[in-house]
């Protein structure tokens, strides 16, 4: 390409040379003829010239007949443009910088949207045909799916290329006597082939590895795990690795750059679905039970099949399954989601935040464009002479317009290149914005051709925005204006000053809007940080256990729990300790059950349900959840005793209308429980949730193999982990020991989405503020420099420095005020879009609006004070003479 271009240029310049020589010889011959007819040398020369006509025009007309004119024009424009920009390096640098921030912010957000929402799985083919697949309950609730249903979908669907089953599986990875938590998933055997992946080493799964209970202990490991844990051992295939205490044969290494199919994490291993039981938290075998729902998955549609068509087909199949297996499948359906709305990973959670980020960076871009447009306008008026001269010399107006646009394109092209570099740097930023976690986190932006194309589009859009107005203005330049010098007033706005001021007002209003947004989420995050979730976050640490893979049955697990609890309670510094199925704010969800209450008549067609937790005695005091009445569970509330429950405040209000429920009955899952206590309402899943009905049952009466240990202690978590490890080892050498995490951290982890939003809004909001400050500064400086005469006159007429200062600053503040009013109106109407991020903060919080106003005013003062000060330094004599 460049070679062809170079060649083209060379041919062209040769032809130019030839034409010149030909004309030269034409003239020489004509001159000789004239000499022969008896004229003098000089007469002959001028006669030949006269005869020939305008040489340049002949050359140009001839050159035009060669074609490729537009290209040479473009080259010329580019050359002139580059020269103009180099002549004004300060201007160019500032313009490119503003645009780089604007375009770069856009490119970064594009790349995040591409890499997190649209094409989140690198190396995976056909992501555009992939949908997330989940089960549904009548009434619209989402549920997982059973393996048998999944297989039926796969067998009966004609429109799907592949139906892929996947279930997240945490596992204990032991190397030597070291145990670590590893994250991976249990997948159907078609996983790697359906995703179109080629293994770095070894193979993917074979179809028969779908079948047989725990029959295929094989594992595919991630490239990263291979490199880090096995140091890239080339002979890794065939070696064994203990996962959840079961030796697995390593059969493959996934390709480099493949991180699995779960937005937010980088998976480390994959095992075939036949190994389900080994990786199940509860140790249950679920492959032959249509009622056991545990799978999430993906569907790859055949080419040309829309999501709607596929949805219809799969829903029809689900309906047939409902008819065939009424006892397990009544009321069950399936639902497809586009990847960016995937409900079971972080895509769904990050989606709205990224969309907000997108609108914010659009604002930033607009502000940057307004700045550059302003700068160009300033320069356009100083270039007026040049433009008029060129017009007078016969340049076409269209050509001039093209010239100005070309200069704009050079600016935004440079900025786009720099912006893409910026986006490249920022591609992993999202991960750093999130609170740290134990598992490898991955949320990377993707810079592919789509992002490039979109960035190029933004670049052109920006050019049109910022270059067109000055361009039109200069092409409107009149030749007669050439000698007329422009002078505009400092106070009165008219003509271009008016236009520039409008730009500043728009900038200020957009910045104000972003400031308000940032202020709101910041305030909300502060509220969240200091808010109480209804349980103690200080001095409580927690850790979790999985018993099933380590040869435990329920009886042994119960014994272990009792023994460990006794040992932990005896540790120095431990105030209290308890067991529960799960702790609040973790991804392990609580159980949910249909409930009934004596004397409560639910509305027709409604089945009240409530979430509940299984807890041991001492849970409430350890977690710091006050019991409002009644008593705590005791050791005697065991499997042989009367089933009991403790309900929360909201349940009392809802189902007993506030009457004392103690001694009353509550039915859960068809089993009657006696209410023995009332607990204070707290948050169970996250801060944003609405207050919900919740109850607790004794762990002993609902024993499970998954358990969390809570310890109330002043001992630092690190030290507690060591102490705890010693106690666990004393009881069982084989059981893996995980870190003890403070409850504060568990809670913080749930704030990922608001935190990302806060950071993005704050960063982009400050960016916008800086850009508008530059804009305001530029306009005020320009007004002062152009209004030198007027200011000089005013001084000569007796205005003193403070008067001028007041005048200039006043004008700056007036512009700001206009912008703030507009921005406040826009913010008033739009901040409720942030509602899902706001915790106990009104979208119209007056404090935030006030703070934004104060910040804006200060910034406006700072950016007008320097031009204003300069105005006072004007020498009236010189100003009037000039």
């Amino acid at each position: 390409m460049s070679w062809a271009f170079w060649n083209w240029g060379r041919r062209r310049s040769r032809r130019n040379r030839e034409l010149k020589e030909e004309i030269q010889s034409h003239l020489a011959l004509a001159e000789r003829d004239a000499l022969d007819s008896g004229r003098t040398q000089s007469e002959a020369r001028s006669a030949a010239r006269r005869e020939f006509g305008n040489r340049t025009l002949v050359e140009e007309a001839t050159r035009d007949s060669w074609g490729g004119r537009w290209l040479s024009d473009l080259l010329q424009d580019l050359r002139i443009g580059a020269r103009m920009l180099l002549r004004n390096p300060g201007f160019s640098l500032l313009a490119v910088l503003c645009l780089t921030l604007g375009i770069g912010a856009n490119a970064a957000v594009f790349s995040w949207i591409e890499g997190v929402l649209l094409r989140p799985y690198p190396l995976v083919a056909h992501q555009d045909r992939m949908s997330a697949l989940v089960g549904t309950l009548r009434g619209g609730d989402r549920d997982d799916m059973s393996w048998l249903d999944f297989q039926d979908l796969q067998r009966r669907s004609n429109l799907a290329d592949a139906v892929i089953a996947e279930k997240i599986a945490g596992a204990t990875l032991s190397i030597g006597d070291r145990a670590e938590k590893a994250m991976g998933s249990v997948v159907s055997a078609n996983y790697f082939s359906a995703l179109g992946l080629h293994m770095a080493l070894g193979r993917g799964f074979e179809p028969e590895e779908n079948t047989g209970r725990n029959a295929h202990p094989v594992v595919v490991i991630s490239y990263q795990l291979w490199q880090e844990r096995y140091h890239g051992d080339p002979a890794i295939i065939g070696k064994t690795q203990r996962l959840n205490n079961v030796p697995h044969t390593i059969i493959g290494v996934a390709p480099q750059g493949f991180y699995g199919t779960f937005v937010g994490y980088a998976w480390q291993f994959w095992v075939p679905i036949s190994m389900q039981q080994t990786f199940d938290y509860s140790g249950a075998y679920k492959l032959e039970d249509r009622g056991a729902r545990w799978i999430e998955g993906f569907v790859v549609a055949r080419p040309g099949v829309s999501r709607q068509q596929l949805q219809q087909e799969l829903s029809a199949i689900a309906a047939r399954l409902e008819a065939e297996y009424p006892e397990t499948n009544r009321g069950r359906g399936v639902q497809l989601y586009p990847l960016w709305e995937t409900p079971f990973n972080n895509a769904g959670a990050l989606g709205p935040t990224l969309v907000i980020a997108l609108s914010i960076v659009m604002f930033v871009l607009l502000i940057a464009c307004a700045n550059v447009g302003n700068l160009l306008l300033v320069r356009a008026s100083s270039r007026r002479h040049e433009m008029t001269l060129r017009l007078a010399l016969g340049a076409g107006r269209a050509r001039l317009l093209k010239q100005v646009i070309t200069e704009g394109l050079i600016l935004s092209g440079l900025a786009a290149a720099a912006g893409l570099v910026l986006a490249w740097w920022c591609r992993n930023l999202l991960v750093h914005l999130l609170p740290p976690r134990g598992t490898p986190f991955r949320l990377a932006g993707q810079l592919d051709w789509r992002v490039f194309a979109l960035t190029a589009g933004v670049c052109i859009f920006a050019t049109v925005l910022f270059a067109l107005v000055p361009a039109l203005q200069s092409s409107r330049a009149q030749i007669t204006d050439a000698l007329r010098s422009e002078s505009s007033g400092v106070v009165g706005g008219r003509g271009k000053t008016w236009f520039r001021s409008t730009l500043v007002v728009v900038q200020v209003s957009l910045s104000f809007l972003l400031l308000v947004g940032a202020g709101l989420v910041l305030r909300s995050l502060n509220r969240l940080r200091t808010a109480s979730p209804g349980f103690s976050t200080a001095q409580v640490v927690t850790t979790s256990f999985t018993f099933a893979p380590f040869g435990y049955d329920a009886a042994r697990a119960r014994n272990f729990e009792d023994d460990l609890l006794a040992r932990v309670q005896a540790l120095p510094g431990v105030e209290s300790a308890s067991w529960s199925r799960s702790v609040p704010f973790t991804f392990l969800s609580y159980s949910s059950a249909p409930i009934a209450v004596d004397g409560y008549q639910p509305p027709r067609d409604q089945q009240p349900t409530a979430n509940f937790s299984e807890v041991s005695p001492g849970y409430f005091s350890t977690m710091g959840i006050p019991l409002l009445s009644g008593r705590d569970f005791t050791r005697s509330d065991d499997e042989n005793a009367q089933p009991v429950a403790i309900v929360n405040e909201l349940m009392v209000q809802k189902y007993w209308r506030g009457a004392d429920p103690i001694g009353q009955r509550l039915q859960s899952n068809g089993k009657w429980l006696q209410v023995i206590g009332v607990a204070r309402l707290s948050k169970y899943f996250n801060f944003m949730e609405a207050p919900q009905a919740f109850f607790y049952v004794p762990l002993r009466q609902n024993f499970g193999m998954l358990a969390s240990l809570e310890i109330r202690t002043a001992t630092p978590p690190q030290a507690m982990t060591t102490l705890l490890a010693r106690e666990i080892r004393a009881l069982d050498q084989s059981l893996p020991v995980y870190e003890a995490i403070p409850m504060r951290e568990v809670v913080n982890r749930s704030m990922a989405a608001p935190q990302v939003a806060v950071t993005l809004l704050t960063v982009f909001g400050s960016l916008a503020l800086v850009l508008s400050a530059i804009g305001l500064y530029a306009v005020m400086s320009y007004a002062v420099s152009q209004g030198t005469r007027e200011l000089g006159l005013r001084m000569a007429l007796g205005a003193r420095a403070p008067d001028l200062l007041r005048m200039v600053v006043g004008r700056g503040l007036a512009l700001t005020g206009g912008g703030v009013v507009l921005g406040a109106a826009a913010a008033f109407g739009s901040t409720r879009l942030l509602g899902y991020l706001l915790y106990q903060v009104s979208p119209r919080d007056p404090f935030v609006f006030g703070a934004a106003f104060a910040v804006m005013t200060i910034v406006a003062l700072v950016s007008t004070i320097l031009p204003a000060w300069r105005a006072t330094r004007i020498d009236p004599v010189r100003a009037l003479q000039s």
Binding site: E18, L19, E21, E22, I23, Q24, S25, H26, A28, L29, A30, R32, D33, F52, G53, N54, L57, V58, E60, A61, T62, D64, S65, W66, L393, G394, A395, G396
Partner: protein
């Protein structure tokens, strides 16, 4: 500048077919350089047709690109190097249709100018 250039372009358009034919016709007998060509056309037309250089050189380039004529640098007996054009074989083949086209055109124009005469013509 722009206005004057477009004037030139207009003239080329009007004269294009004619000029091309004149050039081909003139080159038929001997290869010539640009200046000689314009002189020959002027002399042969009895000093009536003066080919404008702003039309001549673009026309030469155009014909060259079509492959109807070919150019070569030669030393002239009078001193400066000249670019000499000669008719190619394709160009020679163009002469016949060009001439008959011209005859039709002149007949047609004559018909417009003098309708009675044209109708009586065979």
């Amino acid at each position: 500048m722009a206005a004057r250039k477009s004037q030139y372009q207009d003239r080329i358009q009007i004269l294009q077919g004619t000029l091309d034919m004149l050039i081909l016709q003139t080159l038929q007998w001997a290869p010539r350089h640009g200046y000689a060509l314009s002189k020959a056309i002027r002399t042969n037309s009895g000093e009536i047709i003066r080919v404008d250089t702003g039309s001549l050189y673009p026309a030469l380039r155009r014909l060259e690109r079509k492959g109807w004529i070919a150019a070569e640098w030669k030393a002239s007996d009078q001193g400066p190097r000249v670019r000499v054009y000669r008719l190619t074989r394709i160009g020679r083949r163009q002469l016949i249709p060009q001439r008959s086209h011209w005859k039709h055109l002149t007949a047609a124009i004559a018909g417009i100018l003098d309708p009675a005469n044209a109708r009586s013509a065979p």
